[in-house]
Amino acid sequence: MVRLLDEGLEQLTTMVYKSGEVAKSAIKTSLNAFMNSKDAMDEVRALSDVISSLTVEIENKAFELIVKYQPVASDLRIINSYMKIAYDFERYGRYAWDISFTHKKLGALGGCDFATDLMPKLVEKVSEMVAKSVKALREHDAKLAKTLAETEDEVDALYFAYLDQLSKVRKQNNFIICNLLVSRYLERIADHTTYVGEAIVYIATGEKISLR
């Protein structure tokens, strides 16, 4: 017999998955534009707005389910975690937009100078983490979620190495400021992927762990 709660949980799940896909797409669009010196500010803004409204809908639905059904055990873990994950996806979208905004405002569209090859590596790693977090969520795969911790360490190492290199560049210009901010946004996105990972582990196992 299908429980009354199940229908609501299904709607909630659909919204969270959609938010994850849109967030992944926002980051992909933003980083592609950044790496290829293109303007994607408006497009990414639109995607980020979609995620923000989904976050509100997810929160409302989660509250409705809590009030109506007083869920416990795995049901409660899912609802609680989906609310957290929705916020993290919202941050993905917002940072994606911040990257596009910074990129455009600081005039780096004419051709990027990343100063070193660490930026492309950072972009690649973070994109990988975002995709992995969305995949682990769809499959409630705690094992995959836990692997985010290792990649996060790599991102941190790359980020600090990059900061170090930027600090040695003599001539300060907009490119440098842009790269500095973008690398910071990337580091923040990587952090949020680990929050998503932690929530997935909690859903699957009930364990509260730190992936940072």
Partner: protein, 254 residues
Amino acid sequence: MVVNKVKIDIQDLNVWFGSKHVIKDINMGIKPNAVTAVMGPSGCGKTTLIRAINRLNELIRGSKTTGEIYIDKKKVYSKDTDIFELRRRVGMVFQKPNPFPISIYENIAFGPKLHNMADGEELEAIVEKSLKGGALWDEVKDRLNDNAFSLSGGQQQRLCIARALAVEPDIILMDEPCSALDPASTAKIEMLIRELAENYTVIIVTHNLQQAARVSDLTAFMYVGKLVEYGSTKRVFEKPESELAEEYITGKFG
């Protein structure tokens, strides 16, 4: 689940009613000064389990109990056990409020008189203390001679709790104490249960999962006579260890 400090120690408990095996090999330690909730589908043996603690099952013809229950390390099922004294120490509150058809005062004074505990002013003090303990004193102090049936259902149930307290038990068994009450009366009883846990060992059988989650410190889940899961209420409601308990509390069966 291992409980560090044990008030009631249930060991290898089995209960039969005729050929029906109702309680199967239950081992559990009940913590003092805490509320333990027992939940499970109808007919799983919850009520029989708590009625084994004060040997009420013996009143049913054809019942047989094996194993042992210790209260403060003393055997409950010993031929030396004074059953009258046992049932004074282990008070019970039932599903439907069952006040005696006499005055509010006499309902409370009944037990202490029966046990020759007090009379005169001392008895009056016990009545007042018990009604305060049952969170009913303020509502009835000016009408102690009214018939107990003039009280509302919720008040009657608190009277029954006060009546149980009057004989100074240290364990209180509650069998679905709120199932016949409205939400406001239920909330009052739940507050009272939490207060009682400060001085008594409370075991509550309930079908209301949210109630178990709200009032208890420990939760036991029973299924077809067996203890399937037992642990801190927070843990059982957040991440039950057994699939059966998970399915039951999330409403996937039962």
